[in-house]
């Protein structure tokens, strides 16, 4: 086991001892015990930056299930490094924040931190795994731990619903990802990502018929996890989670697992034009949809949720366009989109994390997150206001913050696609920058709403439940660190460009070195004018928003309603479907069984042309047989019409005795004897029961009841008859009776062949038949004697 294995497993191992610490160290907030772990991991990853920035990739393998190619192998490259730093870094800050956010007396902290650590370990596992099955395993652990965290306040109905919704959608995507992984395995013969990439670069799998299917399955997994349209609906409902969870899982880390997957498998799929189009179009649709509906929200966390959806769409679309770089290497025009994607990934994690924490502070200090009730908080919460203005301006893409840089790169790469000469980009590609620009205007508007609605205007404390005041310093540390990063990265982007970002780009393209320089000022380029346009249009829209927000009434929440229909209506209709055929009546079930039996046998007979009748091999019919047959048929049919039970029992006896006479005619003396005795005993038993049963054996049955029974039973009889005739006519080989005739005396010293077979050649049958009789008699004895509960204990 390497250090990296311990790094991934450490949160899981630590999660085991959390409940112990929680129980025995009541006086200290459990979060303090957690805090060192992500911090140490963060330090470890920082110490590895020099290695990855040299484009060195370390692979550590631990054998797990070698027989099917599943090894617990981990790999630390540029992309993994970027995500690991985010997970551990923001993890540290979120845990610090949560210590002040969650009350140690009121909350179940042990559960909270166990779930959070499970999540952190799983997330590290995803971004460091080199084996797709291991990646899938961690992928599902993030789904489960996210489910647990969203439903943390499980006494609230909305929390439970949100948790179930996110679980259903992400697990749906997870399973489809598993299908995609298996398809990839079928095409390449390995689960190791590095080996798959190597084999793809050698021989193209693009022509494989499974290629498109695998791509769609993998993308479904990525889109559901990263809340892309139309699977985004779980993310706004996941805002019922505690705010540290929203900040960590639903803005900075888990929702980027899908982004990670797309980036990681880009070297496999990006050779295909479908990949480029699918990823970028879904991304751009998500971008415009999320930013448009963010303005409608009145809950601060709702705005942030839709904003996250929109920003994830932006990163996704950039990754899609960046796929064009696979075709033209080492020209900035092509890989600038991927650079923008990884850069914005980092930026989004910083400013969105801080904004969530700010919203958490507002919620904590005022008791509400509703923007209609909040105003003028600037006076009482100056530090929070500063943090939120930096975060929101960075989100809107204003200089000098880091969001400005990545937004400029976003515009640049959107404009670049007009020059692309592949996959019809030069014609339809024109739509992409236009949608991107409109989406950015909406982004500007909701960023302004986010910062000015609660903080600007007149201070109205009478609307609030509690008296608002500035948050404690402990709660402010984490957002302050995050916004300082926003400024530092904004002012000195080259700090991260060649240490963290360009190795990540290199991993996305499956190798090669990419030189990256990010400038604040690159002349009067078109993207600068686009940003100016965004600001002007955005200010205009923000000022006039009372007039045009009425258009939201036109857009109903179709997708959520669709989900509700799928979840609740289908449950109801399947219930009623089940109730319709599982009626509880044995007769109905028997009808199903018999009808199916008839249907399947007749169908097989017809399809295979199975009916044959060969009349050459028949035995002759004698007078006795005709007489007996006549009696048997009459007796059998009369049972149906017998009015009383006595008649039917006697007729059954008549059938039994006729059958034993048949045995006599067909020269089976032992059978005849046994049948005679057993029929006598059975009739006696029937008569015994008869005495205790009610008068009429026949129930009043309606005509349809009788008719359906008659049809089914006639069909059953016919099918049996047909099968009997055709199987008799189709004898393939003779009997093994010769052996018994020859050896009954020689080997077993008996003359009665049937008895010798029963006790000698096939004695085991007899043994277990005795067992059956024994069990039946014990069962009968118990049924009569045993009375549980002691009621109605009259023994007759």
């Amino acid at each position: 086991m390497s250090i990296l294995h311990w790094v991934v497993l450490a949160p899981f191992l630590y999660a085991i001892i959390i409940p112990i610490l929680f129980t025995y160290m009541k006086r200290v907030h459990t979060g303090w015990f957690i805090l060192p772990l992500p911090f140490l991991l963060f330090i470890y990853f920082c110490s590895k930056i020099p290695t990855t920035s040299q484009l060195q990739t370390d692979v550590f393998t631990l054998t797990w299930i070698p027989s099917i190619g599943i090894d617990f192998s981990l790999m630390l490259d540029g992309l993994g490094m970027l995500f690991s730093l985010l997970i551990t870094g923001i993890g540290t800050l979120v845990i610090l924040y949560s210590i002040f956010y969650l009350d140690k007396a009121k909350e179940k902290l042990n559960q909270f931190y166990v779930y959070l650590l499970l999540f952190m370990g799983a997330m590290l596992g995803i971004v460091l795994s080199d084996n797709l099955i291991v990646l899938y395993m961690f992928w599902e652990i993030t789904s489960i731990s996210s489910f647990l965290l969203i439903g943390f306040w499980n006494n609230r109905r909305n929390s439970r619903n949100g948790a179930i919704k996110s679980m259903v959608i992400t697990v749906f995507g997870g399973l489809s990802l598993l299908a995609g992984i298996i398809l990839l395995y079928l095409m390449t013969g390995t689960f190791q990502i590095s080996e798959i990439i190597a084999s793809v670069q050698q021989n193209s799998i693009m022509t494989d018929p499974l290629f498109i299917l695998a791509m769609i399955c993998v993308l479904l997994g990525a889109f559901t996890k990263s809340a892309q349209f139309p699977f985004h609906i779980w993310l706004p409902d996941a805002m019922e989670a505690p705010t540290p969870v929203s900040a960590y899982l639903h803005s900075a880390t888990m929702v980027k697992a899908g982004i990670y997957l797309v980036a990681r498998l880009s070297p496999v799929f990006a050779v295909s034009g479908y990949w480029l189009w699918l990823v970028s179009i879904v991304g751009i649709v998500t971008l415009i949809y999320g930013s448009f509906f963010a303005i409608k929200q009145t809950d601060l966390k709702g705005i942030l949720a839709y904003s996250t959806i929109s920003q994830l769409g932006m990163i996704m679309s950039l990754l899609g366009i960046g796929a064009a770089g696979v075709h033209y290497e080492s020209e900035t025009t092509y890989y600038i989109a991927t650079a923008a994607a990884v850069f914005h990934l980092l930026n989004h994690a910083t400013f969105k994390g801080s904004l969530f924490m700010v919203v958490g502070i507002i919620d904590h200090e005022t008791g509400t997150r509703d923007i209609r009730r909040l105003s003028g908080l600037m006076q009482v919460m100056p530090i929070t206001f500063t943090i939120s203005i930096i975060g929101a301006f960075s989100m809107a893409g204003l200089p000098p913050f880091n969001g400005f840089l990545s937004k400029e790169m976003f515009f640049a790469s959107m404009l670049n696609i007009l020059e692309f000469n592949l996959f019809n980009m030069q014609t339809w590609g024109l739509l992409l920058p236009i949608i991107a620009w409109i989406g950015s205007i909406f982004t500007f508007v909701y960023s302004m709403i986010l910062v000015f609605k609660p903080f600007a205007g007149a201070f109205k404390p009478e609307k609030l439940a509690t008296k608002p005041h500035e948050a404690p310093i402990g709660m402010l540390i984490s957002p302050i660190i995050l916004v300082s990063l926003v400024i530092v990265i904004g002012l000195f982007p080259d700090l991260v460009a060649n240490t963290i970002l360009s190795p990540a780009i290199s991993s996305i393209y499956g190798g090669g070195s990419y030189d990256l320089h990010i400038y604040h000022w690159h002349g009067f380029q078109p993207e600068l004018f686009m940003t100016i346009g965004v600001i002007l249009a955005g200010i205009l829209l923000y000022k006039t928003r009372e007039k045009w927000t009425t258009i939201y009434r036109v857009f109903p929440t179709i997708l959520n309603r669709l989900y509700d229909i799928l979840r609740f209506k289908t449950e109801g209709s399947f219930n009623s479907l089940t109730n319709r055929y599982m009626v509880g009546s044995l007769r109905t079930y028997l009808i199903y069984i018999f009808s199916f039996f008839v249907f399947i046998l007749l169908l097989t007979m017809i399809l295979k042309d199975g009916f044959t009748s060969d009349l050459s091999n028949l035995a002759p019919i004698g007078a006795y047989e005709i007489g007996l047959s006549f009696v048997l048929i009459i007796a059998t049919i009369s049972i149906l019409f017998a009015k009383s039970r006595l008649t039917s029992i006697i007729l059954l006896g008549a059938v039994g005795y006729t059958v034993s006479l048949f045995y006599v005619v067909f020269r089976a003396p032992d059978l005849a004897l046994t049948q005679l005795v057993i029929e006598t005993v059975s009739v006696a038993l029937f008569l015994l029961c008869f005495y205790h049963l009610p008068k009429n054996a026949r129930k009043k049955e309606s005509i349809p009841f009788k008719l359906s029974n008659a049809i089914v039973s006639i069909l059953v009889g016919l099918v049996v008859m047909l099968i009997a005739i055709s199987s008799y006519s189709n004898k393939l080989f003779g009997s093994i009776a010769e052996f018994y005739v020859e050896n009954t005396y020689k080997k077993a010293a008996g003359e009665n062949m049937v008895n010798v077979i029963l006790v000698d050649f096939r004695g085991f049958d007899t043994l277990f038949e005795i067992a059956v009789l024994a069990i039946a008699s014990i069962g009968i004895f118990t049924m009569i004697k045993l009375r549980m509960g002691g009621k109605k204990s009259e023994n007759k």
Partner: protein, 112 residues
């Protein structure tokens, strides 16, 4: 003869199925009795009804009837007897405890 036996067996199955589909427990048990008769005769018929001596070596005949189906049927008769008697006592106990022998009324509890 086999053709005639096939028709008889078909009628036995037909009547047995009809009885099994009825409401009264007793008629259902009678139906299973008929069904087992049908099956036993089916096994015997499929083994062949050609002439020959009874399967007893003391008869010194040139050909015997096939002993194997007879052994199989013997086993089956005993087993079906065991099951039938169990069913009968079950029906008796059911009536004693629940007061009905109408299967349409024996539906168990509706659970939600």
């Amino acid at each position: 003869m086999e053709l005639l036996m096939a028709i008889i067996i078909g009628i036995l199955f037909m009547c047995a199925t009809y009885l099994i589909l009825s409401k009264s427990i007793l008629r259902i048990i009678i139906g299973t009795g008929l069904l087992s008769h049908g099956v036993h005769l089916l096994v015997l018929t499929m083994g062949g009804l050609k002439g020959g001596a009874a399967p007893l070596l003391g008869q010194h005949a040139t050909s015997y009837t096939d002993p194997l189906p007879q052994a199989l049927i013997l086993t089956a008769i005993v087993i079906s007897f065991g099951v039938t008697s169990f069913l009968l006592v079950l029906a008796y106990r059911t009536y004693q405890e629940l007061g009905t022998d109408n299967l349409e009324k024996l539906r168990g509890k509706k659970h939600d």
